[in-house]
Amino acid sequence: MRTTIEATGESAPVVMVAGPSFAEVYRDYAAYVWPVLRRLGVRDADVEDVCQEVFLVVHRKLPQFAHRSSIRTWLYGIAVRCASDYRRRAHVKREAPQSQLGDAPVDAPQPKSVADRQARAVLDEILETFDEPKRAVFVLYELEELSMADVAEAVGCPLQTAYSRLHAARAEFELAVSRRRAQERSL
C-alpha cells in the first residue's frame, strides 16, 4: 500500500516553513550521517537501519526545525540520540564489542590498504572504550570537525561540559594510542 496525499481525503492545513525539503536534506547529508553513526558505535550491519531511523525523525521534525543551529548540527544531534538508543537496546548489550571489520556487509567500503583497515579497526576499538557522552563529543569535534559550540548544541549539554568531556576524551585517546604503540614495540 502506498499512501498518497490524494488518497487521504484530509485537508488540514500545514504550516510551511522556509528551508530545505526532506529530499534535499537527505541528498546533502546522508553521506555525513552514515559514518558518524559508525563512529558512535553502531555496527556496520546495523548502520543502514539506524540511519533510516535518523531520517524518519528528520522527516517528522523538519517542519518544526527553527534554524537556531545549522542543519548539520541538528542532524548530528538526532544521530547522537538514535545511536544512543541503539546502544541501549538489549540485543546490542548482549553482544560483546567486536571489531567492526568482522561484520561488515559485502558492499561496505573497504579501505585501500591493510594499514588503513588496521587503523580503522584500532580507532573503533579505542572509541569503544569511551563512555557515551565523551565519545559523542570526541567524534563530533575531532572527526566531524564541528565547532565546540555546535558540539554542545548537538549533544545537548552546556559548552563547558562539552569542553570537559573533550579534554577527558582526548587524554584517554592519547593514552590508548601510546599504550598500543608500546605493545607493538614489545612484540
Binding site: M1, M16, R81, D107, A108, L123, M148, R180
Partner: protein, 231 residues
C-alpha cells in the same frame, strides 16, 4: 561562542600516531549502493514530502511509518541478496502486500484497558520461520524493533483492531519507554484508548502527551478527535 577558542584538533596537534588513526576515519564513507538502498527505503516518505501542502503531519508520519515498516517486514522475510540493492520503484511495489500481523489477537472484545494487556513475555518474535538459517535463528532472540512494533500498531489502528493497536503500543512502551518513536507510540495509544471507549484514559494520556510534546504534529488531530467526543 567563538570558534577560535576551540582547541587545535588532534588531527593537527596530536601525536603522530593519533593523527594517523584519526585520519583513517575519513576512509569510512558509505558506498553508492548503500546510499541507494537507504534512499529506496525512504522513497515513500520522500514522495509524500514532495507535495506536503495538502497533508497533515499525522498522515505524513503515519505514511512514513507504514512505508518503512512494510519495507522492513518484506525485507526481513527475504534472504540477504548478494546482488546490488533494489531501485526505489520495485521497493514501493513490494510494499503492496504489507503483511498483516500473524500473531493471534487474544482479545476480541472492546473492553481491554492498558492494565490488562498481556504481559511482555508474550514475545511477538518467536514465530515459526520459513528459513532455518543461523541468521534467522539469531533474529528470533532479539526484541522487535521500534518501527516494527509501531508499524504493526498503526496497521491495527487502520484496520479497526484498537485492542491490538493498544497492545502493541503498550509493548513498545515496555521495550522503548523513551525511544525514538515515543511520540508516535503515544499518539497511537491515545487514539486506541479513545476508540475503545476509554475517553478518560485517552484524555489523561493526551494531557501528558501535550505537556511532553507541545509542538507535536499529532496534537491537532488528537485534540480534534477528543473534542468530537465532547460534542
Amino acid at each position: 561562542m567563538n570558534e577560535t577558542n576551540d582547541p587545535v584538533r588532534l588531527q593537527l596537534g596530536g601525536s603522530r600516531d593519533a593523527q594517523d588513526l584519526l585520519r583513517s576515519a575519513h576512509l569510512d564513507v558509505p558506498t553508492r549502493a548503500q546510499l541507494d538502498r537507504l534512499a529506496a527505503k525512504l522513497a515513500p516518505t520522500v514522495s509524500i514530502s514532495a507535495a506536503t501542502v495538502a497533508v497533515t503531519p499525522w498522515l505524513v508520519g503515519a505514511a512514513a511509518v507504514i512505508g518503512f515498516v512494510a519495507v522492513l517486514l518484506v525485507a526481513r522475510d527475504r534472504e540477504p541478496a548478494a546482488t546490488p540493492p533494489p531501485v526505489p520503484a520495485p521497493i514501493v511495489a513490494r510494499v503492496e502486500p504489507a503483511p498483516i500481523p500473524a500473531e493471534p489477537s487474544p482479545i476480541k472484545a472492546q473492553t481491554a484497558n492498558v492494565e490488562t494487556v498481556p504481559p511482555s513475555n508474550a514475545e511477538p518474535e518467536p514465530q515459526p520461520r520459513r528459513s532455518k538459517t543461523a541468521k534467522v535463528a539469531k533474529r528470533e532472540t532479539t526484541p522487535p524493533r521500534e518501527m516494527d512494533l509501531l508499524g504493526l500498531a498503526h496497521q491495527a489502528l487502520g484496520a479497526g483492531d484498537f485492542t491490538r493497536a493498544l497492545e502493541l503500543a503498550t509493548r513498545h512502551r515496555e521495550l522503548y519507554e523513551a525511544g525514538v518513536m515515543t511520540e508516535e507510540r503515544e499518539a497511537i495509544a491515545i487514539e486506541s484508548l479513545f476508540r475503545l471507549g476509554k475517553q478518560d484514559a485517552a484524555r489523561a494520556r493526551f494531557y501528558a502527551f501535550g505537556a511532553k510534546f507541545p509542538n507535536s504534529g499529532y496534537r491537532a488531530r488528537l485534540d480534534h478527535l477528543l473534542a468530537d467526543q465532547k460534542r
